[in-house]
């Protein structure tokens, strides 16, 4: 039966390839049905599996951890296309397995959707789980935040492998208590950076201790609810970090972790957290320090994650914001920068975005500084325009252009610094529109 399913799966992958289509989720979906929802159970994996999950930063951290091993000369398998659901992981493994379902590699590095961690790793043995953070994201798909954490917590109760957790996020740090017998729980932590605050700055989750219900107290907030917290009543948050990022200077940017100084390419606090998670994995697997340096110091992203474009003579930075945290981060970067600037906000409400756009009211727009004009676009161009107006921004300076090409032209009609925020399904169309503009009017990527 197993062999037959794998054969069917492989045939679908081949057929799709003949049709010049990327395998994507389809073979996995077919097998998911045929195997009665146990799509990944038919694979035999003997090598260690490292999974990365969390709301933000999964792709970056997965890629970096993969590079640690790749540069160490190991054979790795990674779900690069971002197919991070059980069906996507199944489709990907189909390409690499032999006819008996055996997957040959030294390490499997798998970005895994938060809600799919229990499903996938009840079927495949997991060596290490890295949990980055939990933010409000696409709530209407995942149900409520607490349900999601409960699901992963349920998995962690019997998990005895390595658990690398963001110790500064109460939502992830709590997983460290799920299985009191697991000796392999490791927290990463970061000391305050220049823009850390004493008071919370943005809407957030997890203000109360999940164990005793007491309000959590913070020494500092780095962004959103990420920071050094403690429950004064039951001691939740009092742990010994496995690795700590300190001396964070985003101007350069540099930071130290585990006593070693890194000079990453990206200058955001989230990148520091992501790279600290990578450093924790490197420490755990005894990766050569030169290799870790190489990975952390060279990592940079395209695909609309702080990606720069030249629109004619104007520099434009595009950033993906799937949720308020991502959007707030871009606004911070924008505000921390001197001089006048203009913002294009592209908001879609397709299924993959979560149909609900009310999260835009959790974005703190009241901090706009020296923003001379706002252009809005996407299927919910008007909603984001109304939101920015409600925050007190002059509506006369807001231009609504639901059509993306028109929006980019509008944005580029003036000189000066531009910022672009786009949500999930809006990012690629926005990149394409920017490239079309550049092809027509000049500039570069």
């Amino acid at each position: 039966m197993k062999r037959l399913l794998i054969l069917i799966g492989k045939i679908i992958v081949k057929l799709l390839k003949l049709m010049h289509r990327n395998a994507g989720n389809l073979p996995g979906i077919v097998l998911w049905h045929l195997s009665r929802h146990k799509a990944v159970s038919m694979f035999k994996v003997d090598c260690p599996i490292i999974a990365v999950t969390g709301t933000n930063g999964k792709t970056s951290v997965t890629n970096c951890i993969a590079q640690l091993f790749e540069r160490s000369g190991k054979k790795i398998i990674i779900n690069r296309e971002g197919n991070n659901l059980d069906t996507g992981i199944c489709s990907m493994l189909l390409k690499y397995c032999d006819m008996s379902g055996k997957v040959k590699a030294d390490y499997l590095i798998l970005e895994t959707d938060e809600s799919h961690v229990p499903v996938v790793y009840s079927q495949l043995k997991l060596d290490t789980l890295v949990v980055l953070n939990f933010f409000r994201d696409q709530l209407d798909r995942n149900g409520e935040m607490e349900t999601l954490i409960q699901k992963i917590n349920g998995f962690c109760k019997t998990f005895e492998g390595n658990l690398i957790l963001n110790g500064d996020d109460p939502n992830t740090a709590r997983l460290g208590r799920a299985n009191p017998h697991n000796k392999n729980v490791k927290y990463f932590h970061a000391e305050p950076y220049a823009f850390a605050t004493k008071k919370i700055f943005e809407a957030s989750e997890g203000r109360f201790c999940p164990f005793c219900g007491e309000a959590l107290e913070y020494d500092y907030y780095q962004y959103s609810h990420i920071g050094k917290f403690i429950c004064k009543k039951c001691g939740f948050g009092n742990y010994e970090p496995y690795i700590t990022a300190r001396d964070i200077d985003l101007e350069k940017p540099v930071f130290t972790a585990g006593g070693h100084t890194y000079s990453p390419k990206l200058n955001s606090i989230y990148n520091i957290y992501n790279m600290t998670a990578v450093a924790a994995a490197a420490k755990l697997y005894n990766i050569d320090q030169d290799i870790t340096d190489g990975v952390i110091n060279s990592y940079t992203v395209k695909n609309g994650r702080m990606e720069n474009f030249m629109l004619g003579g104007s520099k434009a930075t595009l950033n993906l914001a799937k949720n308020p945290v991502g959007a707030n981060m871009t606004l911070r970067v924008m505000n921390e920068m001197q001089g006048e600037k203009e913002l294009l906000f592209v908001l879609n409400d397709n299924i993959a975005d979560g149909l609900d756009v009310s999260w835009i009211y959790d974005i703190n727009f009241s901090i706009f500084q020296r923003v001379t004009r706002v252009v809005t676009s996407g299927t919910r161009a008007y909603d984001i325009a109304v939101r920015i107006k409600t925050a007190g921004y002059d509506p006369a300076k807001i231009v609504v252009r639901p059509d993306l090409d028109k929006a980019v032209e509008e944005l580029a009609s003036t000189q000066g610094r531009k910022f672009i925020i786009a949500n999930y399904t809006a990012v690629q169309p926005t990149r394409s529109a920017l490239k079309r503009y550049i092809a027509k009017h000049g500039g570069n990527r």
Binding site: G143, L355, W359, Y382, V386
Partner: protein, 248 residues
């Protein structure tokens, strides 16, 4: 300058789906008209406020866990809230806030959370957490005196039954129960609804109905509100109406 006073209850716990945005909308629309809008917050362990001294009490929605947390505290406020409501304080209630003013809320695991019992309705969540009413919703309400189409987003498991006077007729979406005809509960000084979005963001008539109500509390002569330029808000709503109602 005219002042209105609002009590935002459990803002730190019941704030799903941008519900705090409603307060931002009300305060924005007051400010534009030179009306002072004072928003006080009340949460678990706050000192017991004088509920009747407020023109409007606002409660948003939260996850099951948070609703359990606050229900006990809310019951302690029962007397004060009932008195305020009888004195004409406006109650604006979203999702969880709506449910908790009824008789009870039974969650997916069968746990019963006692409501304030201010109104006769009650809410039962289906056994499966997957069965939720999720999506864009359009209703038509006659609350303001003429029919107004209200656009929002609903996301609730709970099915609310026994509602005597509903907020509106469902034109698109689910409403109080899965695929039901009516949405929410209302009275002259109550709007209780499942609409997030936030609810007031593109429905200025509803915001102004509440503001006008508050401004006129205790006044002998009727004070009318100055009209605002709502072009963006109305265009925003129209885009959704065109999309949702024409697709039927």
């Amino acid at each position: 300058m005219k002042t209105i006073r609002i009590l935002h209850m459990y803002a730190d716990m019941l704030d799903l789906y941008g519900d705090s945005g409603n307060m931002e909308v009300i305060s924005f629309r007051c400010k534009k008209r030179g009306i002072e809008c004072i928003i006080d917050k009340y949460s678990i362990d706050s000192e017991m406020p004088d509920f009747s001294s407020y023109d409007l009490i606002y409660i948003g929605g939260g996850a099951d866990l948070e609703q359990q947390h606050i229900s006990e505290d809310l019951l302690k406020c029962r007397e004060g809230i009932v008195k305020a409501y009888k004195n004409g304080t406006f109650l604006f209630l979203i999702c969880g806030g709506y449910q908790l003013m009824g008789k009870y809320y039974r969650d997916a695991d069968g746990n019963e959370i006692k409501g304030l019992g201010l109104f006769d309705y009650f809410t039962v969540a289906p056994n499966s957490r997957r069965k939720r009413c999720i999506g864009n919703i359009v209703i038509e309400t006659g609350l303001t005196g003429k029919p107004v189409k209200v656009v929002g987003f609903e996301n609730h498991g709970g099915q609310t039954q026994g509602v005597k006077s509903t907020f509106g007729k469902v034109l698109y979406g689910n409403g109080n129960c899965s695929k039901s005809e009516a949405e929410g509960y209302c009275e002259k000084n109550v709007i209780a609804t499942y609409l997030h979005g936030p609810c007031l963001s593109k429905n200025p008539e509803i915001s102004d109905y509440m503001i006008e109500y508050c401004v006129n509390r205790g006044e002998k002569e009727h004070i009318s509100l100055e009209a605002l330029d709502d072009t963006l808000e109305k265009d925003c709503r129209q885009v959704m109406l065109d999309r949702l109602l024409k697709s039927r």
